[in-house]
């Protein structure tokens, strides 16, 4: 279980995440939503070790992640995708995916360099695992293409394959549907549910598309200005007044018109 215990992250004077307590259970699909700038991506970055939290505790299956290096966190079985496309453009698709398989490649520098039998075997297994992961997202035929030559949607799928190849227990998806057309979004939702069902991978889905979230998530956490304002099953959360205010603003009535006017001043 990935647990954030009253985590705060400040950048200078800006409080990006304030006193956030939430958890991602094993084998669940959790939605994390909130307006722009509400601290969703910062939360994901904190969990994957991009920067340490200012205060609070992040644990993964009982291991404290606060001071771990990102590659050590990866080895514990936590990985992610990115909001913007961030494949390694100068490498082929299969190399991109193979690089993320490093968790299972313990061969030393020298045995890799001189290609000792166990290093060769390891390389072969990594290639097979990479092709398998690419096949799972339907990208196996592009394995030998340069990653930067792929289209936007294709790169998204390769990113997913890169995240899944290391057989993680927890995957944090930072806006996986951004820039995908409607049909693909439905497919993506089905793919995530299938992976969740068959391999027991827990997903944290950061999204703006409420329909995707409602379809696949069993639970939702809502952030606003770095604070958790609601948590629970989708149907309850979307009726929550604070969530509606955060997303849509207040209903226009005479009373609130006055308030809004005051705030604007």
């Amino acid at each position: 279980m990935l647990v954030l215990n009253s985590v705060t992250k400040c950048f200078g004077g800006v409080i990006a995440v304030h006193n956030l307590t939430m958890h991602l259970e094993e084998g669940e699909i959790l939605g994390l939503i909130g307006p722009n700038g509400s601290g969703k991506t910062v939360t994901v970055n904190l969990c994957t070790g991009v920067y340490p939290p200012t205060s609070g505790l992040i644990t993964l299956d009982g291991v404290v992640l606060n001071k771990l290096k990102p590659w050590d966190i990866n080895r514990l079985g936590l990985t992610r995708t990115f909001q913007t496309l961030r494949l390694w453009g100068g490498m082929s698709v299969v190399e991109n995916v193979m690089t993320a398989y490093g968790r299972f490649m313990p061969a030393s520098f020298w045995s890799t360099l001189v290609r000792l039998p166990h290093a060769r075997r390891e390389e072969k297994i990594a290639r097979e695992a990479a092709l398998e992961a690419l096949d799972a997202v339907g990208m196996a035929e592009f394995a030998n293409k340069l990653a930067s030559d792929l289209s936007f949607g294709q790169q998204r799928l390769v990113e997913l394959a890169r995240a899944l190849v290391s057989k993680p227990k927890y995957v944090l998806l930072d806006e996986p549907a951004a820039g995908l057309r409607a049909g693909l979004i439905v497919q993506l939702g089905e793919l995530l549910q299938k992976l969740n069902r068959e391999q027991g991978i827990a997903f944290l889905v950061v999204e703006h598309r409420i329909r995707l979230i409602v379809n696949i998530c069993s639970r939702i956490v809502v952030l606003d200005h770095g604070e958790k304002i609601a948590e629970g099953p989708p149907s309850d959360v979307l009726k929550n007044e604070r969530v509606i205010i955060a997303y849509l603003g207040r209903r226009r009535t005479r009373d609130t018109d006055m308030e809004v006017a005051n705030v604007d001043d």
């Binding site: 290096k69 992610r80 993320a100 390389e123 890169r162």
Partner: protein
């Protein structure tokens, strides 16, 4: 696929013949020591450019002080021979080890500074090194440099031909090492670090280790080249290891194409030989260097390596396009 392999196997002897020809023909037919030394110098520069390319082009760690690493190795070796009285072999080993240690320091710095800051630090290292060479006359001979005697094998002095054979052997060795690194987990980690370091870290690449490894290997190549430089000329002077020379090494890598191994070799040969043809017009060299870099970058943004790739298709049936895209092959499969 089977057919491709068959063709590749059939063409393999031609590649082998070319290699042997490059190895044997120059010392046999180049009677003038000037030309033989020049060709040797080309291969030495190729070794340096390959090493620099592994750090700058493959792992993305800018180093503007490569000449200092070459010089460090050459000077340590020469001083051990001359001042301490060691024989060639242990001195050379000490020179290379010392350079790798200096490379580790750069790797350490590269984990704290990035991009232009790293470039400034390495450039500063080169400047300091240059000043030390010029001022510590008792050890380095100052501007006059150091002269050493040629090594002896079984009591026989190595002549220029023997030196060329050894030197080309080392070039092949370094080139193979570069390829073995490039097409392995190590090389993938380097390239991932170059393309997007933050993502690499999150995807399980120990980027701290990758950068140190890249800088160490780069320094190792420079170290080997420094020893070979001393062996080739039996004389070293500070003028050969100036920051300007570092820029020339970088120019070899850029003209060859960043991250392109064969390109570095071509770039090194071009930049070594062209100025020799331009000796008639002194001062023209720097204009030609600058102009050719601009021209290559405008016409072939990916560098001369393109021609290298084209040449290598003569030896294998792979399409150029496939080679462009960081081709897939089993480790060490095609060596």
């Amino acid at each position: 696929m089977a057919a491709t392999q068959k063709i590749r196997r059939r063409r393999w002897p031609f590649f082998f013949l070319l290699l042997v020809a490059l190895w044997v023909l120059p010392p046999t037919f180049l009677s003038s020591p000037y030309y033989l030394r020049l060709v040797s110098f080309g291969w030495i520069n190729a070794i340096i450019a390959l090493g620099l390319n592994m750090a700058v082009g493959v792992a993305g760690q800018i180093n503007l002080g490569q000449a200092a690493f070459v010089g460090l190795s050459a000077y340590v070796t020469a001083m051990l021979i001359k001042l301490v009285g060691w024989t060639w072999l242990p001195s050379a080993v000490a020179g290379i080890v010392g350079t790798v240690v200096a490379g580790t320091a750069v790797g350490w710095v590269s984990n704290r500074l990035r991009g232009p800051y790293l470039a400034i630090v390495t450039l500063g290292f080169n400047l300091v090194f240059q000043i030390l060479l010029l001022t510590q006359v008792d050890f380095t001979g100052g501007p006059m440099g150091l002269r050493v005697k040629a090594p002896e094998i079984f009591g026989v002095k190595m002549n220029m031909q023997a030196i060329y054979i050894v030197l080309f052997g080392f070039f092949i060795l370094i080139y193979m090492l570069c390829r073995l690194i490039y097409y392995s987990k190590i090389g993938r980690n380097f390239r991932a670090t170059r393309d997007d370091e933050i993502v690499a870290r999150i995807m399980g690449v120990n980027t701290v280790r990758a950068k140190v490894q890249a800088c160490m290997f780069s320094a190792f190549c420079a170290g080997v080249a420094g020893v070979l430089f001393l062996l080739n000329y039996l004389f070293i002077a500070p003028a050969a290891f100036t920051p300007m020379q570092s820029f020339r090494y970088l120019a070899m890598v850029v003209i060859g194409g960043l991250g392109n191994l064969l390109g570095s070799v071509l770039g090194a040969l071009v930049i070594t030989f062209i100025p020799e043809f331009l000796r008639v017009w002194p001062g023209l060299w720097d204009v030609v260097l600058g102009g050719s870099i601009l021209l290559v970058l405008l016409l072939f943004p990916k560098g001369l390596g393109f021609f290298g790739e084209y040449l290598s298709t003569l030896f294998s049936q792979k399409k150029i396009e496939q080679r462009w895209t960081g081709q897939i092959r089993s480790p060490g499969g095609e060596q």
